[in-house]
């Protein structure tokens, strides 16, 4: 005993992923919603690293690394998009961005 079962890590990952989803579904500020996506990506990273440990291979780390890069790029683009939204609508309430529907 004394060692933490890997499955705990995985379950933590699941919980964090789910929290990310929850944030996406329940938060009403565009920025928080976007933050929730980052949370989901972090959760996935945790899984990658945990699985890497399991197999003693570092491919998972590479994945995590790439995910971070992607997240950074997404952040740049996403925030730029949010900027344009704010500029045109003067709001960051996600529920008000629904002019196209039905």
């Amino acid at each position: 005993m004394g060692h933490v079962p890997l499955s705990w890590y995985l379950i933590l990952s699941v919980i964090l992923f789910a929290l990310g989803v929850a944030g996406f579904v329940y938060r009403k500020s565009v920025i928080t919603v976007f933050l929730s996506i980052e949370l989901m990506l972090n959760a996935v990273n945790l899984s990658f690293v945990a699985f890497s440990y399991q197999m003693h291979r570092i491919d998972g780390h590479i994945y995590s690394f790439f995910v971070m890069v992607v997240a950074a790029a997404e952040a740049a683009v996403g925030l730029a998009i949010i900027l344009t939204i704010f500029k045109n609508r003067g709001t960051l309430q996600i529920d008000e961005v629904d002019s196209m529907k039905l």
Binding site: V44, S47, F51, F66, M100
Partner: protein, 487 residues
């Protein structure tokens, strides 16, 4: 850990199309910086067209020496080559259609063309990738570039909204995909598609967990191809984005996503076939039904085409359900045909819509047949192809898909699918009715003639659609031959 990497020139040749696209993307940006402020930026578009042409040539060359490259990261085979070609043609036509559009909107910028090219890089990678890491990166490159393109006219509220929706939901779905990749990695220890297949064939992993991984990846792919119930974004985004961008989004990224969808599910997850086949069955049916039924009530042409693209995704999913070589070939053919007809339709709409896309309702098409008989006739060809009338690519694709389905004994899916295409005729015909059977409205009355580049795009799409419908043999042969890659 042995370090043996020999990257040969062949590897670079196999990756040449992507490289060329990137290089031209960079050149476009540099040239733009060098251009005097007042000069016209159309030349940038021409430059990117040249880049695409070069990439196309490189694609053919790469196919001559097919095989894996960069330690099995990508796999150049007929299948990949086909989709690369589709993507490149799509990009070419969309840029052609964009030239005049951007001029009209006074948004002629180098970034647009560069982003187009970069997006195509991602799609080409998707078409050829043979490792999930490449899948992820290709998908992101393609998607992020497309998010920006969707919101490219940043002063346009609809563009903003489209970009935001596409971006947030796209990233959300990508997270699922990524989670699926993590699980695959955790279960199998590799993300190489062939390795996954091999491991699953041996069956040492719990099938349930493999199923879970497949399910999460399915969510990601299904989102990208707008399959029910992950289709919600598509109509909103296609409606909101600029028409040439919608044309691009609904064809290029979609074809690429389907390419990898098929590759992953038919190569890697084939051992799980029994698990996912009914899922895809239901998904295909639901996608056809939702797309077609919801489109019945649309009055906005772009939104209508958005729903129609959902429905067409459903047809392609039928081919996936068939999960046979014929099915793959059918899907390839169909996506190529669909790309042409959809780009054509969107291109004509972008012309009719006029400045700031004021005229995108069906009734704005009224009387087009009298005012511009040629444009109208071409639009009619696209619409008939979307309906699936013989002698157009749309028909032959649909025919081939359902034949594949029947060969795999999917009788009910075939019947229901074909019924769906019958119902679909109704909303497409609303366009035809407007063009030919109504008096000209205000929109068509003040229509300036289409620009030369747009005309070329439309004509090329139309000729392509008819060629695929009348002489499907060559493309079909190639598709069939290369579909063998997915075993």
């Amino acid at each position: 850990m042995p370090i043996n990497i020999d990257v040969s020139s062949t590897d670079y040749l196999r990756f040449l199309p992507e490289t060329l696209l990137t290089v031209f993307g960079i050149i476009v940006m540099m040239v733009e910086a060098a251009l005097p402020a007042a000069s016209k930026r159309t030349s940038l578009g021409v430059l990117s067209l040249i880049g695409i042409a070069a990439a196309f040539a490189a694609n053919i060359a790469a196919n001559e020496s097919s095989g894996p490259a960069f330690s099995n990261m990508i796999m150049v085979d007929g299948y990949g080559t086909f989709f690369r070609a589709v993507v490149l043609v799509v990009g070419f036509l969309c840029i052609l259609a964009s030239l005049g559009y951007l001029e009209r909107e006074q948004s002629q910028k180098g970034e647009y063309y560069a982003l187009m090219l970069f997006s195509m890089v991602g799609q080409c990678i998707l078409a050829t990738s043979s490792d999930l890491i490449m899948v992820f990166i290709g998908l992101e490159i393609s998607s992020i570039a497309t998010y920006i393109l969707a919101g490219f006219l940043r002063d346009d509220r609809r563009n903003n909204e489209a970009a935001l929706k596409y971006f947030l939901l796209g990233s959300f779905a990508t997270a699922f995909l990524l989670y699926g990749i993590a699980w695959i990695y955790g279960l199998i220890g590799s993300t190489n598609l062939i390795e996954i297949r091999r491991a699953l064939d041996q069956g040492t992993q719990p099938g349930v967990l493999a199923g879970l991984a497949a399910a999460l990846m399915f969510v990601g792919f299904a989102f990208k191809v707008s399959a029910v119930p992950f289709q919600m974004w598509a109509p909103d985004v296609y409606q909101g984005a600029a028409a040439p961008v919608s044309a691009f989004m609904s064809t290029g990224p979609k074809a690429a996503a389907f390419a990898i969808f098929f590759r992953v599910f038919l190569v890697s997850f084939r051992p799980l076939n029994a698990r996912w086949i009914w899922l895809v069955w239901g998904c295909a049916l639901a996608t056809m039904i939702v797309g077609n039924f919801a489109a019945l009530l649309q009055t906005n042409v772009k939104r209508l085409l958005g729903y129609s693209s959902i429905a067409h995704a459903g047809y392609v999913l039928v081919a996936l359900t068939a999960s046979s070589q014929v099915g793959v070939a059918a899907a390839m053919f169909y996506l190529a045909a669909y790309a042409l007809m959809n780009i054509g339709a969107f291109a004509v709409i972008s012309h009719i819509a006029q400045r700031h896309e004021q005229y995108v309702r069906i009734e704005d098409l009224a009387g087009l047949g009298r005012r511009e008989p040629v444009t109208a006739a071409l639009l009619a060809i696209f619409v008939f192809s979307l309906i699936g009338i013989p002698l157009t690519g749309g028909f032959f694709g649909k025919f081939y898909i359902f034949q594949a389905a029947l060969n795999s004994h999917l009788i009910w899916l075939t019947v229901l699918g074909l019924m769906n295409s019958g119902i679909a005729a109704y909303y497409y015909l609303k366009i035809i009715v407007a063009i030919y059977m109504q008096e000209p409205g205000t929109a068509t009355a003040q229509l300036p003639p289409p620009s030369m580049s747009l005309r070329i795009a439309i004509w090329a799409s139309a000729i392509g659609v008819l060629f695929l419908g009348i002489f499907p043999g060559a493309v079909l042969n190639f598709a069939n031959f290369s579909a063998a890659a997915l075993r």
